[in-house]
């Protein structure tokens, strides 16, 4: 697509923003034109989210100037920015679980006649938006009952419904399946044709390169580079983000031929999973590939003792037994789960790293039930260092850390428990390139030390690159287990779409 240089929709000049102890934005200049899709990339903690929060009015800049359609924005807060035509899709889902899908889309701006809400009209408009995005969501459905992907669609619909002229999308595709992604790309293209201005933030660089007209790179709170998309390639973006030449990805060490550690037999979850069996060896990274809803999360949860209704058996060290019914039972077997939802299920965000890391096992740290803070500190610091996590940051509330650092702590807390099998659900979701590389290195090292790692990821490339063997799930059934020399992206991809996809390919 040719880039159309329309008039300026947003101009940011010399904006700085500090939080206690951190300069989140340093003298940032940025501009966005009408009819333009402007990609914004950078590692987590680089300042992207802060910049967009300044644009939406969720934060007030310490200094500098923000103009929207040529008018200086001095009145702040989300309301003022909405009137100016700015809508944002935030990275963290902001649905109201107890309200209906339609009410969520019109949150804060319900269609009204005087003081009355026009529910019928909202439902009609909701269905139109659904058609436009090619999704099928009932307007009356309770938002909390929808899948994460559909909740994400609600966010997108919320931004679209008001026909805003400026749209900010922060990782809109992070939890979407391939179909929904395509629909979103089409929608972005249409918005562009309608002369809207879009800021598009994503860690998926291929997506950014194919979708955007211009790409800006942020690093350590500064906007380091901004150029038309033609001037960029993937390697260029990565080195600009990291500020160094691209590191080589950690090489796969080949299938480690360890001893059999865990044998899983006939795991089923009604309506979700059917008869899954595999063998896990010490020292290997075992990937599970499948689409959203293929049952991959349920499989991990079944092994970790947190999936109601799961049936099947497992054998640890050759002793066959029923699946663990509780987390305590799973841990006693040596199986730990690092969950996908870092903020909701992984960490106690209000507490610091010391507390979070050691909470999985206080034996030895609290003789006589009295916590020895010295021992706790030492234990947490040792693990943090082994994960290349700066131990000085352990004292900070974990809610203030970047996604990559939070993920390291989630892993750290389970390492503290010394599991023999570590289940990792989406270990790299929403974290940046540099942190991903570090996470892969950690996983490989843990495996080399004799642990077995089971990894689920939506990024099939990652699974194929990193795993020694891959179990492919399609619609809750075991499509295949591929050995490392049989692995290829195309093969895994066709299999995840099930038998029909394979026949067509």
């Amino acid at each position: 697509m040719t880039s159309a240089a329309g008039p300026e929709a947003v101009r940011v000049e010399g904006v700085s923003k500090s939080f206690p102890g951190v300069r989140a934005l340093k003298q940032v200049d940025f501009s966005l034109r009408e009819g333009e899709v402007h990609g914004l990339v950078g590692e987590n903690g680089a300042g992207k989210s802060t910049l967009i929060k300044v644009l939406t009015g969720a934060y007030t800049a310490d200094s500098g100037r923000v103009e929207i359609f040529g008018e200086a924005v001095d009145q702040h807060g989300p309301r003022a920015q909405q009137r100016a035509g700015v809508a944002a899709i935030y990275q963290e889902l902001t649905v109201v679980a107890e309200m209906s899908a339609a009410s969520n889309v019109f949150l804060g701006r319900p269609m009204r006649r005087g003081p009355l809400v026009r529910r019928r009209a909202m439902e009609r408009r909701f269905r139109e938006l659904c058609d436009r995005l090619g999704v099928d969501i009932q307007p009356g459905a309770r938002a909390g009952d929808l899948s994460v992907a559909n909740q994400q669609m609600l966010e997108i619909m919320r931004a679209l419904q008001a026909d805003h002229r400026i749209l900010i999308m922060d990782e809109p595709t992070a939890s979407l399946g391939p179909n929904e992604r395509e629909r979103l790309y089409e929608t972005v293209g249409r918005l562009k044709d309608e002369r809207a201005a879009v800021i598009y933030i994503s860690h998926d660089l291929d997506e950014v390169l194919s979708l955007c007209d211009r790409v800006s790179v942020m690093r350590d709170g500064e906007l380091v580079s901004s150029a038309e998309v033609g001037a960029w390639d993937k390697e260029g973006l990565v080195s600009a983000m990291l500020g160094i030449e691209l590191r080589a990805p950690p090489a796969r060490l080949g299938a480690a031929a360890g001893e059999e550690l865990l044998r899983v037999n006939g795991v089923s979850v009604p309506g979700k999973l059917e008869d899954i069996s595999f063998v896990l060896r010490a020292g290997e990274i075992f990937g599970i590939a499948g689409l959203v809803g293929s049952g991959r999360t349920e499989l991990l949860r079944a092994l970790a003792g947190t999936q109601p209704g799961a049936t099947g058996t497992l054998a640890m060290d050759g002793r066959t037994q029923a699946l663990p019914r509780t987390v305590g039972r799973a841990l006693a077997l040596g199986i730990a789960l690092a969950p996908e939802d870092r903020k909701g299920q992984g960490l106690v965000l209000s507490q610091n790293g010391f507390v979070n890391v050691t909470m999985t096992d206080m034996r030895g740290l609290a003789p006589g039930a009295i916590v020895r803070s010295g021992r706790r500190k030492a234990a947490a610091e040792t693990i943090a260092r082994s994960l290349a996590f700066d131990p000085r940051r352990l004292g900070a509330p974990t809610g203030t850390l970047s996604g990559g650092n939070q993920q390291k702590l989630v892993v750290a807390k389970w390492l503290h428990r010394r599991p023999r099998v570590l289940l990792m659900d989406e270990p790299t979701r929403g974290i940046d390139v540099g942190a991903k590389g570090e996470m892969f290195a950690v996983m490989r090292r843990l495996a080399d030390e004799g642990m077995a790692i089971v990894m689920v990821s939506s990024e099939l490339e990652e699974v194929v690159d990193l795993a020694d063997r891959v179990l492919v799930l399609a619609k809750g059934r075991q499509a295949a287990i591929l050995d490392h020399d049989e692995l290829s992206l195309e093969r895994v991809l066709t299999m995840t779409f099930g038998v029909d996809g394979e026949a067509a390919a």
């Binding site: 939406t56 969720a58 989300p78 309301r79 909405q82 944002a88 935030y90 902001t94 649905v95 109201v96 679980a97 107890e98 309200m99 009410s103 949150l107 804060g108 701006r109 319900p110 009204r112 003081p115 009355l116 809400v117 099928d136 909390g144 009952d145 899948s147 992907a149 919320r158 399946g177 391939p178 179909n179 992604r181 395509e182 291929d206 997506e207 009604p270 309506g271 979700k272 689409l291 959203v292 809803g293 293929s294 049952g295 109601p308 939506s458 990024e459 099939l460 490339e461 619609k475 809750g476 992206l489 195309e490 991809l493 995840t496 779409f497 099930g498 029909d500 996809g501």
Partner: protein, 339 residues
Amino acid sequence: MSETPHAPAPEARESRAESSARMLRRYGGVAFRTYGIIVAFVILVIVVSIGNPAFLSQGNIFNMLSQWAPAGIMAVGMTYVILTGGFDLSIASGYSLCAVVAAGVGILVDPAYAFMAAIAAGFVVGLLNAVLVVGVNINPFITTVGTGFILGGVTYVVTKNAAFVVPEMAFGDLGAGRWHGFPFSGMLLIAFLLVGGLVLAKTVYGEAIYAVGGNREASRLSGIRVRTVIGSTYVLSGVCMGVAGSLTASQLNSAQANLDPVIIFDVLTIVVVGGTSLAGGFGSMWRTVVGLGIIATISNGFVLLDISVFYQDIIKGSIIVGALALDVLARRVATRSGA
């Protein structure tokens, strides 16, 4: 890049995988969560009316409406407060204060002014709570316990716990007056429940209440004036105290500082037994209506069935805990399959 997983794919939507058994369990849970409390209410009414048919007589129902009007009206305000995820524990003291204001002013001037003064007093109490909760940002539980103590203390100090008796008989018309046997206080109660319910269900303001209670940050980012919305519910609760205090003072033709300190428990119970979530964001006015019905039926039924007052408390407590336990179980069934 063509090999990235963005290729068009066959349908792989989650809902397809849902088995019908799971759907049944899930929607069964939802239906139970929605209507279970009505079933409990109907059973209770049947049991009591079999025990004593006088329960369903027009006279008894009118009396119940009149008797429960003050608590019921305050439950309307409390429903709003709780839906935003808040609490108003100052209502017992606020209610006594407003009643004393009504009676005290009623001794001096025309009853209409007395009731307006009481409502104004309630408004000020609500505004005080609102400023502390959303202006200063103190936890509402602590704030309203604190203001409750202050208001109660002030009322005692000013009145020295003397009863204010209003000699003017017209003062009693609001609370004790009837139209063809139908008590004015009951009409007022029904009007509050009806209007309060319609505002919640049909208006932009009601929509904002649910949004704020369900997810405060999402609401803020969507441009809802979160603090204004939350603050307004305390003011509304204050106005309800004023109306309730006026009614009681009028019914008794007098008021005193220690009017009814435990009415707070009745009001909270009415709202919560109906199924409105203390966490905020879930609930509705018809639930408060049902909750009021249940509590009134229990209290009135015990008298009609001549059950000892000690058994009353045991049974009342059991019904309250039981209703909440059922609600939790229904939620568990409804959400487990959705997770």
